[in-house]
Symmetry: C2
Subunit: 426 residues, 2 copies
């Protein structure tokens, strides 16, 4: 270790909204910080579906962590992966070494999960990382290509069936955008496949889409999705997925292109913290977000299970940012000899986009849907995008997509995987 | 097949400069065209090194072939791979089916080759496709990350040694840009690794870099490279490459980051055309670019071996475009009952970029180097970039990079591969 051992070492695991906001809020604190992430970038996850649907490039919604933090001299960024936490020794085992800590922030987030049906993963890829987004993009674009190549009408129809599982924000965004691509972006470019006849199914186990919204906005979302051409199935839990489609009990949808936006499971690191995690693997924390019995360890973001007014704090970006800022405040208090104080989530509202010029917004008593909500969503997301350059590029790309219906990032990369799949499935 | 069999079917293999320009030049001809490519995009290969060095995103320099050709109603684009050509039956076997033809254009280009040393490929990736570029980008960025993570000074130094093999345009561009990244883009962002001390070696077997240029411009290129911080080795053929470096006879450069920009071999499809190919696998063609004995088959672009005035026509984009337009003209002549005419390459000049504000230009008697040549190069490349949108985005990105020294696409994707390599090499 360095010769700076007298300065407390804050080890932050995860450069998502929770970890990055905590790190930034400690900029002027008398600590040295190591931020460890297994990717080299902070990802603006709310726009990940745009990369998956070829509207944006990967670098449009991601920025290198060390670039974001280049002026914050008390931070060292390390590309590495945390494998094990030794709470007694206050040491973290990484894939490429180990680090001691005085304070540990565990903010490794969540990944998609298949409710114990891991064999579904192969047929229904999920969307949590840039690699996931590029894989989904390649798979969706390859399906249209396979339809164009196919001589048999029935098999061609099958390639134009898309199923999105999960009616939360990601599922709604994916389904709406896929329908837009099939109806508006691609038809003129295909000669043999009737791309306009593509069907997009959105399958939700619960009674309504966007369950976090008030029921009337869920209903408006369903209507807007249907207007875009999405077939919405609610109250239909998926019972099996294979290479040729999805079953919901006795109902069957044939498809080679099934996307998973349903289950979420917390990072497996949570299970090493010596407390019983909840069903989704989240770690119950003390009111100040510290680990019970370990005031020097904090759990934040999607990995933390926080109850407030009898309801769980939702796994959304604003909550993670607030937790990050809170934990930084607690550490600063402690360094001055104070005690921690309780975290309180401020819910500023909820918004989700559905597709071209369609969105829903719920802010306190304000409820919007349709075009106005979409503008609201657009401005909010551009505003929160990290990095000045990205905002301009994303705005140019969106302006272009808006006027031309084109999606500039329709580039299949990772050829090996795509070809292999086409061959297998054809 | 369709019911349009009375209309001659032109089958084009490859959507690079040769195949795409031939296809476009047949827009008004009484033919139906099928353009087959194993990727879904046309790639602006002259800027591929910018994707490899994180200056541009993959979609910035690529456009879907079917989008480029959406208004040309006599073309069907097919994502597929040609496996075998049956010249007698006039039929091509594809990975996903087969197609008959009346005219066949083989324009499948070239790939990088290791002079029979295929075991070098693993340690020295080449640059021909977008996947190659993303793999090189991840490898280079991961090397800087490994240096930052490394505690041992000697091993850290090793991670900051970069070797580019091959002093042609691609090698010069890669080496110059790597030096720029190490000197200007990254230093402020690293805390432990002294990125400015990174060494970039350019290794060329022949006596000078950019051998296609006049000797005085080669010398200017060498001087500009050295000014950027590149160590230029000429007259030193590589004798071995392994995970820890490169040997040129008794000289040894230790490095985990070796990039290959030396050998090129024509597409293996050339060997199926029944004629003896040259050492690089190129197909000797008749003066009108048809295959000797098969006037209905044409070979064009990097796959064709064309001699003119005792010199080979170079494997560059303008030559491939001219061949494409020429072959289209021959086919139109033939359809009107005429005979083919001989191809003649018009050499408009030669230009290569070296790094930030450094380039060399050779147009007839005009020879430029330095800043003026760089502006010349920039305007020429922007002008030829396919697609209006791409030009604007690329210009914005370059403007941004120019003023800030930043490279926005510094995002490592394909994590599995990167991590595996770091682990192995560490």
């Amino acid at each position: 270790m360095e010769t700076t051992n007298s300065i407390p070492h804050v080890l932050v695991l995860g450069g998502g909204f929770g970890g990055l906001w905590a790190t930034r809020a400690l900029a002027s604190a008398p600590v040295r910080i190591t931020l460890v992430d297994r990717t080299n970038h902070h990802l603006f996850q709310p726009l990940l579906y745009q990369v998956a649907t070829a509207g944006l490039s990967a670098p449009d919604i991601a920025a290198p962590l060390r670039h974001i933090l280049r002026r914050q001299k008390n931070v060292t960024v390390r590309l590495d992966e945390a494998l094990a936490i030794d709470l007694d020794a206050r040491r973290v085992q990484l894939a490429q070494g180990e680090l001691d800590y005085d304070y540990l922030l565990v903010a490794t987030g969540a990944t998609h999960a298949y409710f114990g049906k891991d064999e579904w993963a192969e047929h229904a890829p999920g969307l949590k990382t840039l690699d996931d987004a590029l894989a989904i993009r390649s798979r969706v674009l390859a399906a249209f290509e396979a339809a164009e190549r196919e001589d048999d009408a029935e098999r061609r129809r099958l390639w134009l069936n898309f199923v999105v599982i999960g009616g939360g924000p990601t599922g709604v965004e994916l389904a709406g955008t896929l329908a837009e691509i099939a109806r508006h972006t691609l038809p003129r470019e295909f000669r043999r496949a009737d791309v306009r006849s593509a069907r997009v199914h959105l399958v939700e186990a619960g009674p309504r889409v966007l369950a976090a919204m008030p029921p009337d906005l869920s209903e408006k979302t369903r209507l807007q999705l249907q207007k875009l051409g999405v077939e919405v199935h609610t109250g239909e839990p998926v019972t099996s997925i294979d290479a040729d489609g999805v079953s919901m009990g006795t109902t069957r949808i044939d498809s080679h292109s099934v996307l998973w936006a349903a289950g979420v499971a917390a990072s497996p690191l949570g299970r090493q913290l010596g407390v019983a995690t909840d069903r989704a693997g989240r770690v119950p924390v003390a009111p100040d977000l510290s680990l019970p019995g370990h005031p020097e360890v904090f759990v934040l973001g999607d990995l933390a299970s926080v109850q407030q007014d009898g309801k769980p704090v939702p796994g959304v970006a604003p909550a993670a940012k607030q937790m990050g800022a809170h934990v930084a405040g607690v550490i600063r208090d402690r360094l001055r000899g104070g005690a921690g104080h309780a975290f309180r989530y401020r819910d500023y509202g909820n918004l989700a986009t559905i597709g071209r010029m369609a969105a829903v917004v719920h802010f306190g008593k304000l409820k919007l849907s349709g075009l106005l909500a979409w503008w609201f969503w657009l401005v909010a997301h551009l505003f929160f995008l990290i990095g000045f350059r990205n905002r301009i590029i994303v705005l140019v790309n969106w302006g272009w997509s808006y006027w031309t219906y084109q999606r500039h990032a329709r580039i299949i990369v990772g050829r090996g995987e795509t070809q292999a799949r086409s061959t297998r499935a054809a």
